[in-house]
Amino acid sequence: MLLDDLSKSIKAMKLLDTRETDRLTAEKRAKNDADFASLVDEFGNSVSVLKEAITMLDYRVSLETVQTMEDCSELLRGVIDDGVAESSKLYDIRQHISKKMLPNLSKEWKSFHQGITGGPLAKLHTLGRLVTDEKGVTEVRERIAAGDNWNNLSMLNENGDSRLIMLKNGLDEIIHMEEGLNLNDNVRAFIDSVTKRNAKVSDITEDIVNWIKKEGLEDRFIVAFRV
């Protein structure tokens, strides 16, 4: 009696096990696939930003960074080759992206950003004193600053512009601002010297004085001792 009942019960439990094991496998695969898709999207986004930066700003990366991107690409291809997104491989890919590829891109972009924005920002500083649109100067400065972080470059503002575009626009705006002042070459050279803090008294030619008077900029310049 009991013996038979026990046997039956054991069989029923085994069947239940089978069913439950099957369901568990499907759920897990879906989750891994989603994770894989997410990683691929992240990788694609980085490559896309790089391509855009190159296009807009003639950005260049190191060979090492290129290598990390190629490695990442290989890892992702491996998953596709396997036909299944195993958790361990996904883990490795996530590690590679977050620990190698993105840090390299960020670091190099930071350096690049400083390089392309240093001169224009100094000029903006000088020109900003000559123009009356102070708000416009501030907006330019903010756009340039917004593009200093690689990881945020693809972020969009309310107008649908990415931060990379905003950076590019900012730099263009400074050039446009200088052209709007109608400066001759002497004056432009003088402003450059003033911006670089190496303008001498001898550089204040009659031409320069006339330009100052003409533009009513007498209060904007001072003479100081060399430090």
Binding site: D17, L76, I80
Partner: protein, 1044 residues
């Protein structure tokens, strides 16, 4: 002795109050006093200074010193213990002084009379000198004071006088200069207590304080000299809780309060006593109608009158306490020196006053003491060191009681009381008893001999060696016996130490005499005779122990044969003093100092033998004789230790059983304690010998036989021990004619213990049990088992102290002690006897009914085994039935899940347990909730015990078929439940979990039937596209946009 005269006379002569005996008797019995101390001052303790003791005076010297012609006033205090002879001395002085005094000397003897104040006053008013007092008012007052008042009325008056005095007091008891002796609250409470009828009855009791005061004031109701002091004592106010409870019923609050305060408060009791005693004198004066100075006035009036007549006064007052109540002022009058009051014109006074030293110490005021400069001290031991005086004292009294008063009066009148004419009585009985030579006269000493006088004097307590005590305690006692009970003489037998046991053995071993005769004869020969077995013939008369044959015959005593010796030389005359405190001359053997405890014990034993109604007091109370109590214990110990019980076929264990319950093998006939002893010692001389031996062993030998003549005692004891041995042996093994069988009960009980502990699992029939089982270690099993509560309760009982005791008995009963019985620790086991006895028990199949047990065995230590076995068998049916019921329940539970027919082999059970294991294992894998019941250890336990489970099922089936309790018990001792219970629990659990599992599985399976999972075919195409695009971009970057 002249028996006829003595019979009439002896009571008159022996009256202690010498002032009432006739003048002739007084002279005839008077022995000159030779040991009197004269001093001018006493020590602080009212004793004579040692220096003065070196010069004792004779009565004549005292007379010369104080009774000669003199001009100055004189006061002499004759002091000494009660009965020492103070009155006798004063009386002798009076007698002599009347003959020798001058014409102008007036002698006023104030005798003790009945020793009351009224008696004293009556004497005074009879004196011609007082009758002729010019102060008639004073005389009338005395007459009134002497008037008799009914006792009850006078006692009531005394009692209420105390209340009146205390009521009118302020707590200072009349002494205004002193502080309050009790405070006013206590005083008022005391009055309330005295007014309480219950307390009054107590104080008015015979011998109570009011009776004592009445006795000193109005009437001495006894013939004894009343030496008690008229005062309250501590015990009159000592209240116990019992009396206090009685008081609670009716007394008012004040009386209750002081009663409470008096309980266990000695200091307060003493204060109250002293306070109330301050009123005694005043109360007596009030009751007599006298003023404090009345007697002093009488003395003063007499002195003035005699002065007028040109005479002098001598006052001889025997006892100052006979003036209780006015004694203080009387002393003051007697001490008044005429020189100090010349204007009063008083004659010279010479006062000789007697007082006990205690009264002097306690009651004389300090200033009175300071005014006394002449003391005559009469010592207690008047005859100390004066054998001749002692014998003469006895001889004169014995002679006087045998003389016709007319002959004595004639001697006084015509012979002037001179020694030459001293009359000697005609002997009608007691010839040959010995004589005392007084001058040239021979006085017969019957019923004494010189030996007996010296012996009895020596035996007399030192404090009672004064003349009055000697006369009352010794002379009167034996004279009375000789007159009234000569056939039993001596009835009062002093104890003696038979330093020469030859005589005692000769008497005690004579089978022709009864015990009473033996005791009388021994006492008589040792005390009256010389205590030897020597015999000789002198002038045709045979002497034994120094006494002629006819003496024995007069007393109806047998004359024993002695060792013939030559006739001793003529007895030397009685020597004078040797300086010792005891009169010398008594022979050594009978007087050798006896151990006090031996003496007391033998005295008690002699009374017991002699008096058929006398109960021997042997308990542990204060009244009992300690040495007898010890003797009984020591006899017991001796018998237990000295008998070789094993040789007599008695197990040492059986002896110890009796011994350890403090059973007394021997008791005394007519002893005060109840006893279930084996032997009762009859009240006989033989018993006396046994008791004496053990008393001496304890008291003299200090628990050894190391004392004089111990071998005789030991031999006697051993012979006696041998004679009673068969009785004792039988008694150790039997009671009520039944053989004590406690060993069998211990064995049966031990078998039950073994069965219950599981040591007999291999037996089915109790008849097959073996004796060897009992000899194994068989320690109590204390681990877990599957038995029922009732089984385990019984198991605890048998594994307890009773069980241990029974086991010890089983193992030790047949131990044969090797060597010394008492101290040996080496044993040999009598296996043959053991096996035989145990087989006897096995033969019964351990079936014992209550009637088979010996629950009435008087020896508790043996009875315990019967009681223990009864405790077991009373519980057996309950235990077996409970176990059977539990087994039946287990089988029924199994059958709910599995048919018992399917569990016939170990494989069947193994398969079932395995399947259960698999079931739980799968449940765990499948996350079924009942998996928490998965207990691998339980499953493994069952697996390990598969064989036992099969056996247990079989035992359970077998037990169900067995009707016999013991056989069932044996089967059940295999503890089938211990395996069966876990197995059944497992089955029950599995069965219950099975249902739950099936239900849960069904529920979960339903989910899968509705599910349709959509998994997709190409999941990575989009990602592949992105990656490919990225790869192209990167490749381009590598080619064109790399730094450097």
């Amino acid at each position: 002795m002249n028996r006829e005269i003595a019979k009439r006379r002896y009571m008159d002569v022996f009256r202690p109050d010498v002032m009432h005996s006739s003048h002739g008797d007084f002279l005839a019995t008077h022995v000159p006093m030779k040991k009197l101390y004269v001093t001018q001052q006493l020590t602080d303790h009212a004793e004579v200074p040692e220096q003065e003791k070196k010069n004792p005076k004779t009565e004549e010297e005292v007379y010369e010193r104080f009774m000669g012609e003199m001009e100055e006033d004189q006061f002499v205090l004759v002091i000494g213990d009660s009965g020492a002879g103070k009155s006798h001395l004063i009386r002798w002085i009076d007698t002599v002084h009347k003959m020798r005094k001058s014409e102008k000397e007036v002698v006023l003897p104030i005798r003790r009379a009945d020793n009351t104040l009224k008696g004293t006053i009556r004497q005074l008013i009879d004196l011609p000198e007082v009758k002729s007092l010019p102060n008639k008012e004073l005389y009338k007052k005395l007459l009134s004071a002497a008037t008799s008042v009914p006792e009850k009325e006078l006692k009531e008056t005394i009692y209420y006088q105390f209340i009146i005095q205390i009521t009118n007091d302020d707590g200072k008891a009349g002494d205004e200069e002193s502080v309050r002796r009790i405070n006013n609250v206590d005083r008022k409470h005391l009055i309330a207590l005295l007014q309480n009828s219950l307390f009054k009855d107590r104080l008015m009791e015979s011998d109570g304080p009011i009776d004592r005061i009445y006795g000193k004031f109005a009437e001495n109701k006894s013939n004894e000299v009343n030496d008690t002091v008229a005062e309250f004592k501590d015990e009159d106010f000592e209240i116990d809780s019992e009396f206090r409870n009685k008081l609670l019923l009716g007394a008012d609050d004040k009386a209750r309060k002081i009663a409470d305060k008096l309980i266990d408060n000695n200091e307060f009791v003493c204060a109250v006593k002293e306070y109330i005693n301050r009123f005694v004198e005043k109360v007596i004066q009030r009751c007599a109608g006298l003023e404090p100075g009345d007697l002093a006035n009488v003395i003063e009036e007499i002195r003035r009158e005699l002065f007028r007549q040109g005479k002098t006064l001598t006052i001889l007052m025997e006892d100052i306490t006979s003036a209780s109540g006015v004694d203080d002022s009387l002393l003051d009058a007697l001490l008044t020196d005429k020189i100090e009051y010349p204007e009063k014109q008083m004659c010279r006074i010479n006062a000789i006053v007697g007082a006990t030293d205690g009264y002097y110490r306690e009651k004389f005021k300090t200033n009175t003491k300071g005014r006394i400069h002449n003391f005559v001290y009469v010592p207690d031991d008047l005859f100390g060191g004066n054998k001749k005086g002692l014998l003469e004292f006895f001889a004169r009294y014995l002679n006087t009681i045998s003389l016709d008063p007319k002959d004595i009066q004639q001697w006084v009148d015509q012979g002037k009381g001179e020694m030459e004419t001293y009359p000697v009585h005609v002997v009608t009985i007691g010839d040959g008893w010995g004589e005392y030579k007084l001058g040239d006269k021979h006085i017969n000493l019957f019923p004494f001999t010189q030996n007996s006088i010296m012996f009895l004097y020596d035996k007399q307590d030192i404090a009672k060696r004064n003349p009055r005590s000697l006369m009352r305690d010794i002379i009167e006692t034996y004279v009375k016996e000789s007159i009234e009970q000569l056939e039993d003489f001596p009835v009062h037998r002093p104890t003696f130490y038979p330093s020469n046991p030859e005589l005692q053995n000769a008497i005690y071993n004579n089978i022709n005499y009864d015990d009473s005769t033996k005791l009388r004869l021994a006492c008589f020969m040792y005390v009256w005779g010389d205590g030897t077995l020597q015999t000789y013939e002198k002038k045709g008369v045979r002497y034994v122990a120094g006494l002629p044959e006819n003496v024995y015959k007069e007393l109806g005593l047998p004359v024993i044969d002695g060792n013939k010796v030559v006739v001793p030389t003529e007895e030397p005359s009685v020597p004078e003093s040797t300086g010792s405190s005891s009169p010398e001359g008594a022979r050594v053997p009978a007087r050798e100092k006896e151990n006090e405890q031996v003496m007391i014990a033998l005295q008690e034993v002699d009374k017991w033998i002699d008096n058929k109604d006398y109960k021997l007091s042997i308990g542990a109370t204060t009244k009992s004789v300690k040495a007898l109590n010890n003797a009984r214990k020591n006899i017991n110990t001796f018998l237990f230790n000295s008998i070789d019980w094993q040789s007599e076929g008695v197990s040492n264990n059986a002896v110890q059983k009796v011994k350890n319950q403090d059973k007394f093998l021997v008791a005394f006939d007519r002893q005060t304690q109840k006893s279930d002893s084996v032997i009762t010692l009859p009240a006989s001389i033989e018993s006396r010998g046994i008791i004496e031996a053990f008393v001496r062993w304890s008291e003299v030998g200090k628990e050894s036989w190391n004392f004089n003549n111990s071998t005789d005692y030991l031999l006697r004891v051993q012979k006696w021990g041998d004679s009673i041995k068969p009785t004792l042996v039988k008694a150790i093994l039997h009671y009520d004619d039944k053989k004590s069988d406690y060993f069998s009960f211990a064995v049966a009980a031990e078998f039950y213990r073994l069965i219950l502990n599981g040591y007999c699992k291999n037996y089915q029939d109790p008849h097959n049990l073996s004796p060897e089982l009992l000899l194994r270690k068989n320690q109590a099993v204390s681990g877990e088992n599957g038995h029922t509560k009732s089984w385990n309760d019984l198991l605890r009982i048998v594994n307890g102290s009773d069980g241990a005791e029974a086991r010890t008995c089983v193992l030790q009963y047949y131990n044969l002690v090797q060597g010394d019985v008492v101290h040996s620790i080496n044993y040999e086991f009598d296996a043959l006897a053991f096996n035989k006895a145990v087989k006897g028990v096995i033969k019964t199949g351990l079936h014992y009914e209550t009637v088979d047990l010996q629950l009435d065995d008087p020896v508790k230590k043996r009875r315990l085994y019967s009681e223990y076995l009864k405790k077991i068998i009373d519980r057996l049916d309950i235990v077996v039935n409970d176990e059977k019921a539990m087994l039946a329940l287990q089988l029924a539970n199994i059958e709910k899940s599995v048919s018992l027919d399917d569990l016939e082999s170990t494989t069947d059970i193994e398969d079932l347990i395995d399947e259960i294991g698999k079931f739980y294992s799968q449940a765990q894998k499948s996350h079924i909730s009942i998996a928490i019941h998965y207990d691998l250890s339980k499953i493994n336990y069952c697996k390990r015990n598969v064989e036992q489970i099969v056996k247990a099922i079989n035992v359970a089936k077998q037990v169900a078929q067995t009707r016999d309790t013991i056989e069932s018990l044996l089967l059940l001792s295999r503890d089938p439940l211990v395996c069966l219970k876990p197995f059944v629990e497992l089955l029950n659990l599995a069965a219950a979990d099975l249902e739950k599992t099936n239900s849960e599985v069904e529920m979960r399976m339903k989910t899968y039937k509705t599910e349709n999972p959509d998994l997709g075919d190409t999941p990575y195409s989009r990602q592949q596209q992105i990656i490919e695009n990225c790869a192209k971009t990167i490749e381009e970057v590598r080619e064109h946009h790399v730094v450097g």
